[in-house]
Symmetry: C2
Subunit: 131 residues, 2 copies
Amino acid sequence: MISTRGRYALRVMIDLAQNENGKYIPLKDIAERQDISKKYLEIIVKDMVAGGLLTGASGKGGGYKLCRKPEDYPVGEILELMEGSLSSVACLAAKDNSCPRKNACRTLPMWEEYDRLVHDFFYSKTLRDLL
Amino acid sequence: MISTRGRYALRVMIDLAQNENGKYIPLKDIAERQDISKKYLEIIVKDMVAGGLLTGASGKGGGYKLCRKPEDYPVGEILELMEGSLSSVACLAAKDNSCPRKNACRTLPMWEEYDRLVHDFFYSKTLRDLL
DNA sequence: CTACCAACCTACTGTGTCAATAGGTTTTTA
DNA sequence: TAAAAACCTATTGACACAGTAGGTTGGTAG
C-alpha cells in the first residue's frame, strides 16, 4: 500500500508544476493549497531534494522548484524514492538476495513477474500524465 | 507489500495440494515441512477456513484439506482474504468511498488503473499455476 | 471408555513503521 | 538588520506485524 510519503510527494510535484512561475515556491503555500501539515511536508520534501527530484533555496524568496520538465519525471522514480522500494515481497526488496528458500520457492516466479508489471506500469507514466 | 499472512497462506495451499492423499493433513506436518511456527500458522489457517478456502477437522486423524480443485482457487482470492485488500491506496481500500478530494484528485485515475491491473494479474493466476 | 491427538480459542508481547508534532538553527534577500 | 524560508534533531501516539503462551473442545483409535 502506497503511504502518505509517496502520495504527498506526488501532490507536491503536481502543485509545483501547476504553479510554476520561474521562481521558488515556498512550502507554506504548497501546504496550504494541498491542506497538508507543513511540518510533515518538510520531512518529505527534504528527501525529495536529496533524491534529486527538486531543488531548494533557503532564505527570503526561497522555496522549492522542479529541476526537470514534467515529462522527465517517471512516476515510478518518485514512488520508489519515497517508498524505498516498490517490491511486493521482502525477499525481492532486500538487496542481498538471500532468501534460503529461493531455489525451491514455488511462488517466487509469480512475485518476480508481478514486480516487473508494477515497475513497468509506474515507469510508463510521468508527472506530465498527471497534470 | 504482501505480508507473511498472504505468503504463508499460499505456501499452506501449495503444501496441501502437493501432499494431497484424500485424508486430512495435520498442521504439525505442514509447519514442519514449511519451517513455519505452527502456533502462528494456526491463526492464519483459522482465517482460511472462515474464508472458505479450506475445511478443517478436529480430533485424531483431523487436520486440513483443500475444498476445491487447485485450478478453482484464484491467487487473488487467497491474497485478498488474507491481506484484507489489494488496493494500492487507502481511499480505494476504504469501503465508504469518502475521500473529500476525490473529484479534484489528479492521481486517483492512476490508482484506479493500477488497482485494476493488480486485480487482473492475481485473478488470472490460480493455485494450479503455482504447482 | 479413555487416552491421545488435533483443531480451536483467548490473551499477551516485543518490535517497528507511520504520520505527525515541537522547537530550534542557519541561510538568504529585501 | 529584520523577515522569511529552508534545514535539523528529537519526540510521540497509534497501530500493525509476527509471533508466543497456555488452555479448551472435539473426534477417533485402541
